[in-house]
Amino acid sequence: MPELFPQGWQHYLVGGLLLGAGMSLLFLATGLIGGMSTVFTTVWSFFSSAPYFREERFMSSRQWRIVYALGIVLGALAWRLASGDAFVTHVPYWQLAAGGFIAGYGARLANGCTAGHGICGMASLQPASILAVLTFIATAMITANLVRAFA
């Protein structure tokens, strides 16, 4: 039987608890739900007058979402400085570009990603989010394995 956690398991669990703590602090302090992909739509409201980007739900949340994203960058930077880990990915650029585009489009169509549906939606036991998570894990597994087989 293959090992479940060849890199060890502690950092996974501690990291998960910490990012849950971030999501929880956001909720307890401000009542906000810390989904991630919406920021990609709300930043366009600063540059585009297309009506979709100007919807109330995006206009009213565009400021805090930028502050939240900035916090994520700073937290990750703190880890980088503390750990000294200078990892750089070897995933081919075309996969990053095409995958990023499809993931961005899909997350906004679904109104949530691994954070919004995966953490926030599942933590509030919403059936649509649970179904969304099962769906994207399935298509991601199929895609990742096809890429390994053919790319």
Partner: protein, 137 residues
């Protein structure tokens, strides 16, 4: 936005970003290893995060009444609709191709894994196209 509210939002993001980096889910290779069933770590990350957030969402409103820095407790608006599932299916294809999802795409600006910025640019472009073709509510 009040100063206290902004500070809480920034601190929440920082905790989230630090946890994401510590969990190594910011590394596309680690995500792809999960998707190829070589390392089940992502389940511990997701499980740990959901457990803590579940407790906060359940207990917060009951114990606090209203958020510490004012405002109201909101709810994640998940819609049981075809677009949710179609979008999730597409999202998974992109995630499985790149190994990058939105949180890590943003966090890697801090860790210095610069090629991931290509995925971030792709996501911002994807969100633009989605917004331009979307039906208005």
């Amino acid at each position: 936005m009040s100063a206290a509210r902004s500070a809480f939002i920034l601190a929440s993001g920082a905790l989230f970003g630090f946890g994401l980096a510590l969990s190594t889910m910011v590394k596309p290779e680690v995500v792809l290893d999960f998707l190829r069933l070589r390392d089940m770590g992502l389940l511990l990350v997701l499980g740990g995060a959901v457990a803590v957030t579940f407790a906060a969402y359940r207990l917060g409103p009951r114990l606090l009444g209203k958020p510490l820095a004012g405002g109201a407790f909101l709810k994640h608006p998940s819609e049981m609709a075809a677009r949710t599932i179609a979008g999730a299916a597409l999202f998974g294809v992109g995630w499985g191709l790149s190994g990058v999802c939105p949180g890590p795409a943003i966090a890697n600006l801090g860790t210095g894994d610069w090629p991931v910025a290509i995925a971030l640019a792709g996501m911002i472009a994807g969100a633009y196209v989605q917004g331009r073709v979307a039906k208005l509510e």
